[in-house]
Symmetry: C2
Subunit: 172 residues, 2 copies
């Protein structure tokens, strides 16, 4: 994920906030606005993942996989479903699962009903770790966003951003 930042000594490109296209083209305002979105997003994402990894040793992919399992049922979640949740390829997620299993955080269990699928389920250690990590994540989120935005501002922010998802259903 890249963060385009223009620091240009050149006139005409500097975006004065609240100044609609005077000497900028419309595209430039659009791009500048999105750049601000990107900067904010990557900033908190970066700090968040650093914080989680520093305090729990879990890289982002593992963390999100564990969280997915935390919400999943007791008999586990198919690897393919988890892979989709973290937006990984099937093959890529197999290796994440390998690491998690090797670390004793998850177990692979062949699905009862469909012998193609193997479920991942949290071990007790995995559940504990997942809960710890989730607490760190929540705390970090609170600190990083709720210190700068009111809860209502966050609500409208999330509402606007979610409209960019292409989903018709805002649900999840």
């Amino acid at each position: 994920m890249t963060t385009p930042v223009s620091r240009s000594p050149q006139p005409g490109a500097a975006a004065a906030p609240g100044e609609p296209g005077l000497d900028c083209s419309f595209d430039d305002e659009l791009v500048a606005a999105w750049k601000r979105v990107a900067r904010g997003y990557t900033h908190v994402t970066q700090l968040l993942t650093e914080q989680v990894e520093r305090e729990t040793g879990l890289p982002a992919a593992c963390f999100f996989a564990l969280v997915g399992l935390l919400r999943g049922g007791d008999q586990g979640v198919p690897l393919s479903a988890l892979a989709r949740q973290v937006a990984f390829s099937s093959g890529g997620f197999t290796k994440v699962a390998d690491r998690l299993e090797q670390g004793g955080l998850i177990e692979r269990r062949p699905s009862a009903c469909d012998r193609r699928v193997t479920n991942a389920a949290l071990t007790p250690a995995g559940r504990e770790q997942a809960e710890r990590a989730f607490a760190v994540y929540s705390a970090g989120l609170r600190e990083l966003v709720l210190q700068r935005l009111t809860i209502n501002e966050l609500r409208v922010l999330a509402d606007h951003m979610s409209r960019l998802s292409g989903d018709t259903v805002p649900g999840n």
Copy 2:
């Protein structure tokens, strides 16, 4: 860039296994809201980079590097500055520059004033490619966000998101 850590008042907050959407805890609303932000952001980012790559052959890193050069002066931009712009390590960006140079899109020029630095400068082909790609990017942005958000909604969105950056100056 230090990240202070505050303890969450309640380390539990474990979701009840089973029913989603029964969010009683405050953390859950916070996390859900941020998830919506993430979904929206990654959705447009993904589509945007796909679109740029499909129509110009430029992967994201190369694209943003070229754009940085587009805004830079005529004598080029130090590799280290470009690396910071795209949030790459120094070593990582050296290889991006290698590819761009190999593709004939940029030139390496030793800086006149400081013999440690080498500048990257657009070749004519590189400038053309960069402009094309930027046009694709702008068009994609317009299509992906301005079709779902009014320009004023985007402005407040960018304003809110930029407050998460940690910058004191909202400008850039």
